[in-house]
Symmetry: C2
Subunit: 243 residues, 2 copies
């Protein structure tokens, strides 16, 4: 093998997996790629992502691209894994879309995955000429065929978060509103860790987290007996419940 | 900004941070780049790494490159972070070395970092025409000026391992020989976590790890009272000592 021929000029992109929680379900932010022309129509879903510019580092690219495609600002994005299968951009549909949107002939595409956890009360329906950003249930993801290897990237991001929550339970509070109920916290925990926690034990365990406090307030405007509200006031500390 | 002009064709490389422990000190595997010609001499150190081939995925590239540069085989490499500062390959020394070894004009270089933990009893002094692989003390690393941003990459890898050991203490056993003393285990723990553990408490804590067992053997050929040996028989489980 001639070494010079075997070395490639790949394109590098970033893709952002943004998780949100609406109090009941864990959601993922996807964009629709809508490109209509006379011959065909591309209308399917993908992660917010794009090719990086020559003069920006990976973190800046992720921040810029997420903002351009979803309108989101000031989001804490963590790099979690890079994906570089030689054939990950070989699907004709994806190739066609890349050429139309970038006006470039793209062979190999290596992407750096970022993950963010946000409170879903931030408004997000962002429409531009070519894309619309929307929340989708994580549970429905296996039945949605995403572009490229984005199904795999989303699942890897979920695994990354699951692992993080196991050791740093306070990670959950990034997804919850400022004030939340114990049921919301347990729902979220159980969805991410794929568990079914016992109500009493869960509450006991959570109340050991430094910074989690019960408020003298209850949830308003609920048709049933109003549950107590909690808040977490100490973010990014190392407090985890004792096992 | 013209979009087509601002999109780049970067090269993508992998770099491997290989840690080993010799019973007393934590070491890192570095290669020397020796390129002599009439005009000048390049002789400094870098992480084992190189540009990926067009037809290989990132994990395969890491395995191939580590083998080519150090002779190491069957090493478990974990991807931990990608580094893409736009100027990370701008040092003239690094540019010159890249051009000599790859015969390519390389502008931007994005690298995917991998980390491995190995038992240092594996023999490693590997010499090829252009490189020699050798172990260096981690403690001496700040005083060694590595190529590119390799000092930063090595430090990030160490942080990654430190975080892992905090939650998955059994990670340490990947660095220890099959049979080891409690002092060796404590030394390693203290180096990685930058702590100074109390001898008694440490032993108590470690013996709670499922799979760690005291043997009916003592260390041989030592000039002092021979210490007891231990082994760990259950790798990659989720056992961590209770805090």
């Amino acid at each position: 093998m001639n070494k010079e021929q075997s070395v490639l000029y790949p394109y590098v992109s970033v893709d952002c997996v943004v998780f949100g929680f609406d109090g009941e379900k864990l959601k993922i932010l996807l964009i629709e790629r809508n490109i209509n022309n006379s011959s065909d129509k591309l209308s399917d879903k993908k992660l917010p992502g794009s090719i990086i510019y020559e003069d920006e580092d990976l973190d800046s690219a992720a921040t810029r691209i997420l903002n351009e495609l979803t309108g989101l600002k000031n989001i804490y994005l963590s790099q979690f894994h890079s994906f570089g299968h030689p054939e990950r951009a070989n699907n004709p549909r994806d190739k066609q879309w890349l050429e139309r949107t970038t006006k470039l002939k793209i062979g190999r595409l290596i992407t750096v995955g970022y993950v963010a956890l946000i409170k879903i009360n931030r408004k997000i329906i962002f429409e531009s000429e070519n894309t619309t950003a929307r929340w989708y249930d994580i549970a429905s993801l296996p039945s949605i065929q995403l572009a490229f290897d984005h199904n795999q990237i989303a699942m890897e991001a979920l695994k990354y978060i699951r692992n993080k929550v196991q050791y740093e339970t306070y990670t959950l509070f990034e997804l919850l509103p400022h004030k939340f109920t114990m049921t919301q916290l347990r729902n979220l925990y159980d969805i991410i860790l794929e568990t079914k926690s016992d109500v009493r034990n869960f509450q006991k365990k959570m109340l050991q987290i430094e910074g989690l406090e019960q408020l003298d307030e209850v949830q308003k405007d609920v048709p049933y007996r109003a549950p107590r509200l909690y808040r977490y006031y100490k973010k990014r500390s190392k407090s985890t419940p004792k096992k």
